[in-house]
Each structure stands twice: as structure tokens, then as C-alpha cells.
Amino acid sequence: MTQDDLTIADPKMKAHGVNVFYGEKQAINDVSIDVGTDLVTAFIGPSGCGKSTFLRSLNRMNDTVASAKVTGQIELDGEDIYAPSMDVVQLRARVGMVFQKPNPFPKSIYDNVGYGPRIHGLAPNKADLDVIVERALVRAGLWDEVKDRLAESGTALSGGQQQRLCIARAIAVDPEVILMDEPCSALDPIATAKIEELIHELRGKYAIVIVTHNMQQAARVSQRTAFFHLGTLVEYGKTTDIFTNPKQERTKDYITGRYG
């Protein structure tokens, strides 16, 4: 893999020599990558290449899979997230996640956003929580659409609104990193465009890592792109370079539609 002029001065997360196993099977093989604080990083690659597995190792979501084992080093602000002293609940508040299918709680819109701050003790009273909920919904670009019906169920919203609600829910606990696993694959083009615009606006406030099958989307929203294939990181570079002049033959074959 090449690292030409790819220095990230202040990486938010650093992964070094990461391997992920599901039982006997090795899903990720010796991946090292830095995630920039002010950047959107896209992971692309064919199905089964390990990009989602690697994403989920960044906030220890793989812990929920009994057979999964992660080796190597992953740091958040220099702190080993797999260290025994790491509080996993706290980690997942700092490294939030948005999934492929919108998964709002079967609760009110307000409670969907307010739940996290409440259990993390971020809001001592109702007025504080109101402020947090409003700010998260504003940042997620959903406030104007839902401000008059905060008591309605989150599941009553459209798919795109639900996904932005999930992003608001992730934002509400004031994370440092937001991981997005195919956040638009269940959405129509307009809802997708709104999420992409949102990613653009959130850039700089949070380090964002997005897994996407849609290469045009990776090209549109990210500044860095990593191409995974068969569990290895084939190429990691500036998005403009990856899509105009990839260095690796396998990257080129994939992004030009010659793969397989």
C-alpha cells in the first residue's frame, strides 16, 4: 500500500497492525490506518472485503460477536481502546455509530435523542436536556421538520428522517468520532443527498468514517479513501487521487468497474 504525501498531522484514531478473526476465519489482515480529526474518511471495497468489520472494530462493536477476536493496536487520542481499563460504554459515546438501516428506538423523537445524554449524565435537568436535544436535531438537519412533533414516535418518520434522527442521536452525546456503516443504502436519492450534505456540515466538528458501496458517494463526501479487498487494506490515499489516479491495479479495477 502507498502512503505518498498522506500525512495526517493530528490523527484522531490510529490503527496499527490490526487483525480481526471470526473464529478460525481471519476477516482483517494487518491493517494500519490513521483517521484524521477534521476529515471524512471513506472505506470502500466489494462485499466481504472486511470494511464493515474494520469499522466496527473502531468502537469495539465486534465485542458483541462472541467469536470475534481483535489483535493489534487501535488508539483514540493515543489511548488504546482495547486496554482492559477502557470503559466500552464510554468509548461508544465518544465513537458513535450510525447503521445501514435506520434504527430509531420505539420511543418519541425527543426521547430518541435525549436517551443517550440522560444515561451519560450530560443533562442534569429537563431544560439542559431540551437544549441538547434541540442542538443535536439542528445539527442533524432535522429540527425544522420535527420541532412541532417531538412527542411523536421516531418510527413514524420517513426513512431519511429516521436516519437523520439516528445521526442526531449519535451527536447528542457529543462524540468525537462518528462511524457510519452504509448510512444511505436504504434511502432514496433526495434523502441520500440530505445525509451527504449533513456529513459535509459535520466535517470538522467530528471525525467521520463512512463505509459505502456507492463509490460516487465516497468520492462526493470524503477527503480520504481506503480501498479494502479480501481483508487487506490495498490502498489508502486522498480521495481525489484514488478516483483519478489510483496507484494499485486492484483499486483501479474496482473503481472503474472491471472487478471480478
Binding site: Q216, T244, T251, T256, G257, R258, G260
Partner: protein
């Protein structure tokens, strides 16, 4: 020419191959226009000269067709990496080939204005120069069809021969004009012919540089510049 047939979506390969075919055809016509223009000049063949002028419309039509196909392919197929570079290069190359066609047409138009020129000694030199230029155009377009970066580099190197020819012809014509003031009009036309040929060589070089970019993704190193043409303008125009 090299066919592309390795995309998962076969219709994309068909678009790319059609695009390459059109550009090859266009290049062949431009090369032919140049050779016919020079033949009409050396033989004073006005019919052939008129045909070159007429045929230039076909080159223009091919340019329009390539532009349309390239825009359509970009819109519908969203090409990436070398495919994207090829689309952009195709758009630029056809506008350069169109210019080459215009220069050939310009040479052909001068034939009717130069009845007495057949005895001017510079004409055989111009014919030799045009043969080199035609080869450069041919090889530049071959390098595009074959994705041959090495051939492209050789084209840019050989353009120096064209510049040398231009300098030599320039001197020859200036001397000739001083000695034969009656022939100044014809000689001036021939200077323009030489200049057109020199520009065509530069355009072939431009095509070769674009081919190099398509193939490698990098821009060609600034090549060794030859001696500046003596009117001092040629290389500056090239950028």
C-alpha cells in the same frame, strides 16, 4: 487498435471502443488532409486543394460526434481513474486534431494564391518537413489507440526535428526573399505554410502528452526544448 473488453458492464466497453474508433478515424483524416494539402502545393493541383478544404467539414463533424459521445459516456457511466482520464483526454485530443485539420485546410487555401511558386527551392524542404509532421501525427494517435506511453514520449522528442526544419526553412526563405524581391508574396505564403507545419508538430506533441497522462496518470516531464524557432514565437505558444 487496442480494444477494451474487461468492464463488468459490457456496454461501457462498447462506448469506449466506439470513441477510440472515432478518434482514430479523425486522426487518419487529418493526416490525409496534411499530405493532400502538401501534394496540391507542390503540384499546383487546385482540385486537390479544394477537396482538402471540403473534407475538413468531415473532421469537424467527427469532433462533434466524439464530444457528444464523451459527454454522454461521462453522464451515463460515471467513469473513474484511467477511464475518466481517457474521456477528458479524448475531448482535448479531438479539439487538437480539429486544429491540425484547420492548418491543413489553411495550407490548401494558399495554393490558389501561389501560381509562380513552383520554382521556389523551399518547397521540397517543406514537403520533407510535412512528411515528418504527418508521421508525428500518425504516431501520436497510434500511441493513443495502443495506450503506448513510450511511443508518446518518442513523439515529443522527435518534434525537435520539426522545429529544426522550421528554423532552416525560415532562413532559406528569408535569404530567398532578399535575393528575389519579386517572389516576396509567394515566399510569405510559404513562411505561413512552414509555420503551420511547425504548429502541427506541436499539436502532435500535445496529443502525445495527453496520451502519456491517460496511460500513466502523471504529466510528462518537461521535455528537452530544442533551439527556439527563429521568429521566437513557436515554443512560447505551446505552453
Amino acid at each position: 487498435m487496442a480494444l477494451t473488453n474487461d468492464h463488468t458492464v459490457k456496454a461501457f466497453d462498447e462506448d469506449l471502443n466506439r470513441l477510440r474508433g472515432l478518434i482514430s478515424e479523425m486522426g487518419g483524416r487529418a493526416e490525409q488532409a496534411l499530405l493532400q494539402a502538401m501534394t496540391s502545393l507542390s503540384k499546383g493541383d487546385l482540385d486537390l486543394a479544394a477537396q482538402v478544404v471540403r473534407d475538413d467539414k468531415k473532421i469537424d463533424a467527427l469532433e462533434a460526434e466524439v464530444e457528444q459521445l464523451a459527454v454522454q459516456t461521462i453522464a451515463l457511466r460515471a467513469p473513474m481513474a484511467d477511464d475518466l482520464r481517457e474521456m477528458i483526454a479524448a475531448l482535448k485530443i479531438v479539439s487538437v486534431v480539429e486544429r491540425i485539420g484547420d492548418y491543413a485546410k489553411n495550407i490548401a487555401k494558399r495554393v490558389a494564391l501561389m501560381d509562380q511558386t513552383r520554382s521556389i527551392e523551399a518547397i521540397p524542404l517543406l514537403i520533407s518537413m510535412s512528411n515528418i509532421v504527418a508521421e508525428l501525427i500518425h504516431d501520436a494517435l497510434d500511441s493513443f489507440a495502443a495506450r503506448d506511453a513510450e511511443l508518446a514520449v518518442r513523439v515529443t522528442v522527435r518534434d525537435k526535428n520539426v522545429d529544426d526544419f522550421y528554423n532552416s526553412i525560415f532562413r532559406t526563405l528569408v535569404t530567398f526573399m532578399m535575393e528575389n524581391p519579386k517572389y516576396i508574396t509567394e515566399s510569405a505564403h510559404l513562411l505561413f505554410v512552414a509555420k503551420n507545419l511547425e504548429r502541427m508538430g506541436d499539436h502532435a506533441t500535445n496529443i502525445a502528452e495527453m496520451v502519456y497522462y491517460v496511460v500513466t496518470g502523471d504529466h510528462m516531464e518537461e521535455r528537452e526544448r530544442g533551439e527556439q524557432p527563429e521568429d521566437g514565437a513557436a515554443e512560447q505558444e505551446q505552453g
